[in-house]
Symmetry: C2
Subunit: 420 residues, 2 copies
Amino acid sequence: MLKNAIYAQSGGVTSVINASAYGVISTCRAMCDKIGILYAAENGILGVLHENLIDTTKESDMDIEALRSTPGGAFGSCRYKLKSLEKNKKEYERLIEVFSAYDIEYFFYNGGNDSADTCLKVSQVAQELGYPIKAIHIPKTIDNDLVITDNCPGFGSVAKYIATSICEAGFDLASMHATSTKVFILEVMGRNAGWIAASGGLASFDNSLPPHMILFPEITFDEKKFLAKVDDTVEKYGYCVIAASEGLKNQSGGLLSDSGTSDAFGHAQLGGVASFLATLVNDRLNLKCHYAIADYLQRSARHISSKTDVEQAIALGVAGVKLALDGHNAIMPYIKRISQKPYVWAIDCAKLEDIANHEKFMPRNFIDAEGFYITQECREYLEPLIQGEDYPRFVNGIPSYVRLKNIKVTKKLTPFMQNV
Amino acid sequence: MLKNAIYAQSGGVTSVINASAYGVISTCRAMCDKIGILYAAENGILGVLHENLIDTTKESDMDIEALRSTPGGAFGSCRYKLKSLEKNKKEYERLIEVFSAYDIEYFFYNGGNDSADTCLKVSQVAQELGYPIKAIHIPKTIDNDLVITDNCPGFGSVAKYIATSICEAGFDLASMHATSTKVFILEVMGRNAGWIAASGGLASFDNSLPPHMILFPEITFDEKKFLAKVDDTVEKYGYCVIAASEGLKNQSGGLLSDSGTSDAFGHAQLGGVASFLATLVNDRLNLKCHYAIADYLQRSARHISSKTDVEQAIALGVAGVKLALDGHNAIMPYIKRISQKPYVWAIDCAKLEDIANHEKFMPRNFIDAEGFYITQECREYLEPLIQGEDYPRFVNGIPSYVRLKNIKVTKKLTPFMQNV
């Protein structure tokens, strides 16, 4: 009797997480002699705990193929972190209860940093509680902050979106600044790591063209230096285009834009950096300033995904299934950069304990001495990740994305009472 | 001796205003037996007043062809309104001085509402001051608020960008709302007319899918009704995606987001509607809310321009030159909708006095009874405008846009002293 599998999506979604789902599902279908039913848990690990399982075999091959170019998370994602085995053993016992009821041997968790931690914890039911799970983490995060891997699926597409948007807005400013807006700020995501902000630098070859400035969360915000640089840039070029990370920190380490609330992981809710900076520019320099906030548009913009990113997302999904069938547990397939020019990559795998709860920031040598731009090393690292276009099919003027049937299996177990 | 021409760009730029420039320039080149040198004025009418004239004959055919798919205004645009002939005769005398010095008979002004007024005023130097100018206005405005014409070049591409972005963000929300963001707001441009907000409705077939709500400047904002509708939508679908116009008005007719400053035309500076609404949703409904502000990204996003829009922009540029050569003055070529299904259009022409200083708002029957969504009539009007893709060439991962040489002619005249 073949063993079954569960696939689930976790954390903030990306424009290519479903490409990884496509990789997982199509590989499971191709290996139907080795693996039984593939279930998808609704809303990540919560779907396992609450036995909300979707039977992926009910979806047509065509719809699964369409996941390749559909943004968002097709099975629902979640922001939910498992406590440790000591603190909440009930959750782990419930996982085993569900795994047993559905004869699950393989667990594929598709997420970022926090999700790697969840996946690592799930993997522990193998050693600690004796249930023979193979838990594989499939990386995904626009933040690009996972260690070991060359980059994280989802990031390359955001980078392409941001570089393109900054380039395009730059053409707008170039033509308007004589009598109108002099400064434009694009607020981008990136809580602690400046990878997304840095990708704005790919809009041109140097900072004589937009973006003239990049503000990284790794560089403490210095109001005086910032204003001087904006002023100088407007003096020199007539206008100034800025890519600013939402995670900018002030001298005391606090967020410039802290709104005082926090999410399920205890992260501060962000927003407002652009408005904060625009007010500074208006008030102190008396320069007309506009700003855009890309917010979710940047991570869902499948219409301008990087082809390289899509290919890597699929390859990691495929590799995850193969690693599980080879008997691995508590690991993550990752992208290894074999060569820079030409960009050659391969899939390798790493232990989850070396990944979970680590964060990869921009190395200091990726940011120039002044702290407002990327270096050549950074450019060489980033450039390959945005190469190639992979347009979705358009129908009636907009992209044609798939909504799966998501048919849930009839529950067999008593409901899980989280806090009893 | 052939007479010369001036082309200039005015007002907020679009992703296809350069496609009209391509239409004008390529037609002038093709008709070199009838028209002499085509100059481009730098920064609109200001370039004429200050004799900042670019010799377009110095640009290669390849670069002119590349304008077809380059956003922004290649020759610089301006926000500058001529006063009336009575109030500032000096400006008109200066126009004639420059026109005479360069033997200009044809003047092509590419802009929106305010620019149509400027073009109309320029045309008056023919009748009122006896200078034989042929002033032709070539329409362009993302606001889509010019009367008579079926639509305005620039709008269709913004509509495609907004519909696509709302659709994509909708997939994000659909997968995240279970444990995270419940409400998402996309703030879009549109000072008085809700055309851009309305185009968000093209993201789906009805409001059971994103966008669930559209907020139009034509419908007075009612906080109570708004909050009730958001609450109801989240209750019904689990989340709520909203397209909100920057120009929302409160009960007393003031802008929800008035920041108290104004631009050169006396228009209030906008921004902040999304943040205002998000605060309401957070505070009153206690629902996690995110927002994006598209700002200049929407009007410069050439990477997702509508093919229909590009074609119409070019056709209007071509028609402008032909109308001038046919001896017309004070007119504007416009798009006439011959048939709805299939969408068939042609170019006709209208008197500028019937266009300038009029504004086309959304008719009430384009907005549903409740005031939060578009009607079928509106959908049928909008849909043809976003049809077709016209991708720019990508090089090294980003769109390849052209920057012209913009070689200015040596000035012959004494500087123009505006306020002497």
